[in-house]
């Protein structure tokens, strides 16, 4: 059950490393034609040091680093698979996302809003994350709005 008291809850801090194979298959699964997400040589041809991570992986990275999708969703619902969805995603990139970099992630529940939706009551829980690499360079900030139907 998502309660307004969740606002300010700190998530477990953690690390995550995107491996070459995962970035490659992610690009395949999302029909991404940019081969800098698959091959070092293609990334180098556009001035990057090596294979890049698809930007759409940024939410997966923060979820995995802070315990995985089930742990993330357990903050807001005991049975999230019966009625939860991603409602919004905001990302500010400060440095390239490189394959092989270990990313350190800290996060918190930054907002809990209860609203009346077109099909009934719903709760919007915003998770906010900051991501740095091992040297402390700021890589990106992300906010994800998770929507719980029926005011769970």
């Amino acid at each position: 059950m998502a309660d307004k008291k969740l606002k300010g809850t700190q998530l477990s801090a953690g690390e995550y490393t995107i491996e070459e194979w995962k970035a490659h298959l992610w690009a395949d699964a999302t029909r991404n034609e940019e081969d800098a997400f698959r091959y070092d040589e293609d990334a180098k041809s556009v001035g990057e040091p090596g294979q890049l991570v698809p930007h759409s992986m940024c939410q997966h990275i923060v979820f995995e680093a802070t315990g995985g999708i089930d742990e993330t969703m357990s903050y807001i619902s005991d049975d999230w698979t019966s009625g939860a969805a991603l409602g919004g995603l905001r990302v500010d990139f400060h440095a390239p996302l490189q394959v092989g970099n270990t990313l350190k992630v800290e996060g918190q529940i930054s907002e809990v809003l209860k609203k009346e939706g077109s099909s009934g009551p719903l709760t919007i829980v915003t998770f906010a994350y900051t991501v740095q690499d091992e040297s402390g360079e700021h890589i990106y900030d992300l906010e994800a709005d998770l929507v719980l139907m029926e005011g769970l």
Binding site: T30, S56, M57, A85, L89
Partner: protein
């Protein structure tokens, strides 16, 4: 594409993704370790009244981001995006991602382009929309 040639209202890019594949959704579910059945299990999807497998949010996000990065010198030149999910997308559907120039400006010797982005289904329903900002080197 050159920054100096961009102006407000210009079509930045359009990309169509024909007949989204259920196998892509299954692969993405495995990569995500996503236990939500409609992303990989047709029987469960149909029990929920869906016409086919449900596409994942990160996939719909990817289609929009691709519309931006395809025109940049490097994919890393995208600086931000802000998107909202409005409607579900299913296997077998065709979606079109568009990016339109909203504003151009220079900051710290870089060209900055603000874009509106949208992912539309064949019936015109906007499944996802939002904004993105990208950087171009100045001539």
């Amino acid at each position: 594409m050159q920054f100096e040639h961009l102006s407000s209202g210009d079509e930045f890019n359009v990309k169509t993704f024909e007949k989204l594949r259920g196998d892509d959704m299954r692969l993405l579910a495995a990569l995500l370790e996503d236990p939500y059945p409609p992303h990989f299990n047709e029987r469960r999807a149909k029990e929920l009244g869906y016409p086919d497998l449900l596409n994942q949010g990160p996939a719909n996000c990817s289609y929009l981001v691709q519309t931006v990065i395809e025109k940049l010198n490097s994919p890393s030149d995208i600086r931000s995006f802000d998107i909202r999910f409005h409607d579900m997308v299913f296997a077998g559907e065709t979606v079109t991602a568009t990016a339109t120039v909203e504003e151009t400006r220079t900051e710290d010797s870089e060209g900055i382009v603000d874009l509106s982005i949208a992912l539309e289904k064949e019936d015109g329903t906007v499944a996802v929309d939002g904004t993105a900002t990208a950087m171009f080197p100045l001539e």
